[in-house]
Symmetry: none
Subunit: 248 residues, 2 copies
C-alpha cells in the first residue's frame, strides 16, 4: 500500500485498524473465506462472525488458503455483542429500498465518514440470501449502498467486501480533520439506554405497536450521542423509571 499516510483517520489511527468487518449469519464457508482474503489484500485484520453456522466457520478457518485474518476471526452470539465496542455501525445493502427509515449513503461518501469517525467502526454484511434484516439495521447508524445497477441483483458477498474495503483504502483527496470533541457513545451504552427507555415506556403504557424496541434502537443511532450526553440521558431515564416503579 503506497502512501500509507492516507490511511490515517481522524485521530491518527490507521483506518485498517479501526474497522471491523462483521458478517451477520454467514452460511457459506467459501464466502467467509473470500471476505477474509479481501481483508488481507487490503490490510484489514478484524473479522467478526455473528451467528455463523458452526460448520461453515470451521470449514472457512480450516481451508487450504485460510490466512491470519480467518485464524484471528471471532464468533459472537448476537449482533449487539459484536458491535458493542463500536462508535459507528454501518450496514451494507445492494438493494435500493425506499421503505427503510435509515439513511442510505453512497459508498464514496461513506468512506469519508468512516475516516472521520472517532473510535471503532463496524461494517456489517448480511447473508447472501437475505442481506441484513430490519432488526440488524436497527443497530446501524446508517446504511451504505454500493452503486450497482438497479435490478441487476445482489452482489456476491466476497465481492461486496472487496469493493467496500477498496473504497476505504482508495486514494482520497485530503480529508479535513475535525476539531476533537467528546468521544462518541459506543453501541453497548446505546443499547443500555434503549432498554431502560423501553422499560419506562412500558410502565407508562406507551407500548402499543410492534417493533418499538427496534424503532428506539434506530432513533438512538440517529442521535449521534457523545458519551457525556449518553450519561445524562441514562440519568434522566433511570430517574423516571424509578419514579414510575415506585408508584405502581
Amino acid at each position: 500500500m503506497e502512501g500509507g499516510a492516507r490511511l490515517f483517520g481522524r485521530h491518527g489511527v490507521f483506518i485498517v485498524e479501526a474497522v471491523s468487518v462483521v458478517l451477520v449469519t454467514p452460511r457459506n464457508p467459501v464466502n467467509i473465506g473470500a471476505a477474509g482474503r479481501a481483508m488481507a489484500n487490503f490490510g484489514f485484520g478484524d473479522l467478526r462472525l455473528v451467528e455463523a453456522y458452526r460448520v461453515a466457520a470451521e470449514e472457512a478457518r480450516g481451508g487450504p488458503h485460510a490466512g491470519q485474518v480467518l485464524h484471528d476471526s471471532r464468533d459472537f452470539a448476537t449482533l449487539a455483542d459484536a458491535v458493542a465496542d463500536s462508535t459507528l455501525v454501518i450496514g451494507t445493502t445492494s438493494a435500493i429500498r425506499r421503505d427503510l427509515k435509515v439513511e442510505i449513503k453512497r459508498l464514496e461518501d461513506a468512506a469519508v465518514a468512516v475516516k472521520q469517525n472517532e473510535g471503532r467502526v463496524a461494517i456489517l454484511f448480511g447473508s447472501e440470501k437475505f442481506g441484513l434484516s430490519n432488526e440488524d439495521m436497527g443497530h446501524c447508524h446508517w446504511l451504505v449502498r454500493i452503486p450497482t445497477l438497479e435490478g441487476a441483483g445482489s452482489m456476491n458477498l466476497g465481492q461486496a467486501v472487496a469493493v467496500t474495503l477498496y473504497e476505504l483504502v482508495r486514494q482520497a483527496p485530503g480529508v479535513a480533520p475535525i476539531v476533537s470533541e467528546e468521544p462518541l457513545a459506543n453501541a453497548a451504552m446505546l443499547d443500555e439506554f434503549v432498554e431502560r427507555l423501553y422499560e419506562a415506556l412500558q410502565l407508562a403504557g406507551y407500548i402499543h405497536t410492534e417493533n418499538v424496541i427496534e424503532k428506539l434502537r434506530r432513533l438512538s443511532r440517529r442521535m449521534n450521542l457523545r458519551q457525556h450526553d449518553a450519561v445524562m440521558w441514562m440519568g434522566m431515564v433511570r430517574q423516571i423509571l424509578w419514579k414510575l416503579k415506585s408508584e405502581t
Copy 2:
C-alpha cells in the same frame, strides 16, 4: 445506477458499453461466473474468454446463476484476436513487479484514462494461479494495479474484476444522495420537547441542580433531530408525563 451521466466517456459512449472484460486462460468456472456476476452488477456486458478450458467455460455458462453476461460471452483462441478491436488494452496485476518494462498505473488513475479513451477498451485479467504472462503484457498499453498490501498475496479473480469495474463506475463528485433526508426539526419543536421533558423530570424528582432547562436545550440541539424523530420523542415524553401526573 443513479446519475448515469457520469458513465459517459469522452465521446458520449457509455463507459459500460466501451469496456470489454477479457479473462486470459481462466481455469475455474466459479471465477468465470463471479466475473460475469460483477459485470452484471455494475452494468457491463462484454465478456471475452481467451484460451479458456472448454469444460470450465461450459460449466460457467450452464451454472444455476449464469446470467445474460455469461450467456453472451465469447471465446477467442488468442489474446491478439480478443483485443483486435480495442484502441486501449490494459493489463491488471496485483503484484508489484519492478522488473516489468510496462508502465503501471494505480487503479484510481487508470479509470480516468479509460474514460478519456476513444474506442473500445479491453481490460485483461490473468489466471488466478499465474496472472498475465510476459507475452500477455506485450499486448498491453500499460498495466493497472489495485492498491493491495504488498506481500498480502494475489486477489481473488472475481474480487479483482469487481473492484476494477467499481472504480470505473464510481461516483464523480456531486451525485445527489439516494434517500432524501427528512427535514430537521425546527427550534419551536425542540423547545416544546425540552419543556415537556423538563416537566416530566420535575415530577420524577430529577431536578436538583441549576440550569437544567439550559442543559436540556443544549442536549436537544446536539441530537440533530429530524422532524419525525422529534414527533416520536414528543409522543414518548407526553405519555410518560401523563402517567406521572395520573399517579401523583
